[in-house]
């Protein structure tokens, strides 16, 4: 796979198609999303990432269940999340569920942790949104230990203490799943990612690129500060949002009603304003290529690019067509162009096999040191 990974992420919204008035059922959306993920692999994409929500109009309460099903149905696709809620899930449950997925997928998985911004979800799981940052910090610190230590003694503020606890199954090949931390504008989360040398995923799609640049640059500086490598070696992922047709005008005409009525930004800025102020690109495949290559100008060479493709009520047929264009015309060019002038020190996107090899090299080096 090497270098950069390209893929799609889904929020999992159930939205009425504004052009037809049709609202999909939970059943049809769930079947559609797995069709979409399988099609992403078929057109040559590398990653599928599923969101986690516990309130309508969203269906994916358990991304790990969806990804486990997909693990059996796909061959190459890396199954990730966008995001796994670190605040309201029990870290023990997360350690076990995602280790299980790691085995079932032969290591074709990672996860992106997020806090979730829906106030009522926290009390439903016995938590308080005002404690969002402390929850994310403490729960992740425990999650890491559960994957790295066979027996864990632990006590903290947000969970019952553990004595001699072993989470099961143990990580595949002794390599803990790779973790990205996602945040739109909380420097504490960028700092957390930097502290551990984990990846940082910037949602990127709802805010201007200048905001994303501030967060990513802070993460890169802090990654270097904490001794994990140079700022250029930090692991960065970006979101993106596109709608394409051969002719730019056709894309704009077809996408506008979906934009105008979209759950997040609908009835606010115009399509043209939002396109100029955020990374949203509605136009020809070449316009998408040019815009995406421009992301590198403000975040540096990065490792993972995901796009939001299935949302706002777009019908399945349209989403699959979009994936055909993405995999057929856009991503091959991006792979080639992003590889040009990419400094040698910039790491490839993290994969299980590469991290397993790295761990073996490190273990051998430690052994040699003990022997000498």
């Amino acid at each position: 796979m090497g270098q950069m990974q390209f893929g799609i992420f889904s929020v999992g919204d159930i939205t009425t198609d504004p052009t037809t008035g049709h609202t999909p059922t939970d059943a049809s959306r769930i079947k559609d999303i797995v069709t979409i993920a399988q099609h992403a692999e078929a057109v040559g994409l590398d990653v599928f990432a599923m969101g986690e929500h516990h309130n309508p109009p969203f269906f994916p309460s358990s991304p790990v269940a969806i990804n486990s099903w997909l693990a059996a149905k796909t061959e190459r696709l890396v199954l990730s999340t966008a995001t796994t809620l670190i605040t309201t899930n029990d870290p023990v449950r997360l350690a076990e569920d995602y280790a299980m997925l790691q085995h079932l997928s032969d290591g074709r998985m990672d996860l992106t942790l997020g806090r979730g911004n829906t106030g009522p979800v926290y009390p439903w799981f016995g938590e308080d949104i005002r404690q969002g940052i402390p929850l994310a910090l403490e729960k992740y610190a425990l999650l890491r230990r559960l994957w790295r230590e066979d027996f864990v003694d632990w006590s903290g503020q947000f969970r019952t203490p553990l004595q001699g606890f072993q989470s099961t199954p143990r990580p595949l090949d002794g390599v803990p799943p790779f973790v990205w931390h996602g945040s739109i504008r909380s420097p504490e989360i960028a700092e957390q990612a930097a502290y551990y040398g984990d990846g940082f995923f910037a949602n990127h799609i709802f805010w201007p690129g200048s905001h994303t640049a501030k967060m990513v640059n802070f993460y890169r500086q802090r990654f270097e500060h904490h001794g994990h490598g140079t700022a250029a070696q930090a692991i960065v992922g970006l979101g993106g949002q596109v709608f394409m047709r051969k002719n730019s005008q056709d894309a704009v005409k077809e996408f506008r009603p979906y934009f105008d009525n979209a759950p997040v930004y609908g009835h606010g800025p115009s399509l043209e304003e939002f396109t100029s102020q955020t990374p949203l690109t509605v136009g020809s495949p070449q316009e998408v290529i040019d815009r995406t290559l421009g992301f590198r100008d403000y975040v540096g060479d990065y490792q993972r690019q995901l796009w939001l493709m299935d949302h706002a009520g777009l019908p399945l047929k349209t989403v699959l067509e979009q994936l055909d264009i993405l995999g057929g015309e856009v991503v091959p060019v991006l792979r080639e162009e992003f590889a040009k002038n990419r400094p040698a020190e910039v790491p490839d996107a993290p994969t299980h096999d590469a991290r397993k090899a790295e761990a073996a090299v490190q273990a051998a080096a430690e052994k040699a040191e003990v022997a000498s």
């Binding site: 940052i133 402390p134 910090l137 403490e138 610190a141 425990l142 890491r144 230990r145 504008r185 909380s186 420097p187 504490e188 960028a190 700092e191 957390q192 502290y195 551990y196 709802f206 805010w207 201007p208 905001h211 501030k214 802070f218 802090r222 500060h225 997040v264 930004y265 609908g266 009835h267 606010g268 800025p269 304003e273 939002f274 102020q277 955020t278």
Partner: protein
């Protein structure tokens, strides 16, 4: 050597020209003069919220400001003093006026000296500054001066005009003395709190 202070004026009037803007301009002029007497030059920014009406709605929905609105917010929150004037609609400040103070970072007006003004068709709304506007700025931890200036339609065309001028002058002097000693320079230089995050995750000890 003369010092310079930044003064921002926010006018929530809807018509053009509006009596709200007229009051805002008179308050600004009087404040600039009062600061001039203290040998302080004023860098004045006047904001007509009407010009940002669509961007304010968009920001309420998207959470981020258009480039034009962002520059305006930065100019207001980065000022040494603020004059905030709203028309009275349905017994309170206008929705447009409230929208502006809804979308800015709630910490960004901390310690801001503020002069409050309001306009209305009738003097029966004269307490709107006290019962509606002042609480917003208390919440924002801003520091409104004691005198607020209310102008009803009558004030613009009667003997009462002299009283209005006296109120404007008193309020402007109060604001000027606060702006003169303002220590807000740099108060909003790191609105996202990067320095705080880099100083160590709020005391959390990672494992």
């Amino acid at each position: 050597m003369t010092a310079t202070r930044r003064l921002a004026v926010v006018s929530g009037g809807l018509s053009q020209p509006s009596s709200t803007r007229m009051l805002a301009d008179r308050l600004a002029k009087a404040t600039v003069e009062a600061l001039g007497e203290r040998s302080i030059e004023v860098d004045l920014t006047t904001v007509e919220l009407r010009d940002h009406a669509r961007d304010l709605t968009s920001m309420m929905l998207t959470g981020f400001a258009s480039p034009a609105l962002e520059a305006t917010i930065d100019a207001v929150t980065g000022a040494d003093g603020l004059i905030a004037v709203s028309p009275v609609f349905s017994a309170s400040y206008s929705g447009l006026f409230k929208s502006f103070f809804d979308v800015i970072d709630p910490a960004s007006l901390e310690r801001m000296p503020v002069l409050l003004g309001a306009t209305a068709g009738t003097p029966r709304h004269s307490l709107v500054i006290e019962h509606a506007m002042r609480p917003i700025f208390a919440y924002l931890r801003a520091e409104p001066v004691a005198t607020g200036v209310f102008a009803a339609t009558d004030d613009w065309g009667s003997d009462a005009g002299g009283e209005l001028a006296a109120r404007i002058e008193r309020a402007a002097r109060q604001l000027a003395s606060r702006v003169e000693t303002s220590d807000r320079a740099g108060a909003n230089d790191d609105p996202w709190g990067f320095a705080n995050a880099a100083a160590g995750l709020g005391g959390f000890q990672p494992g």
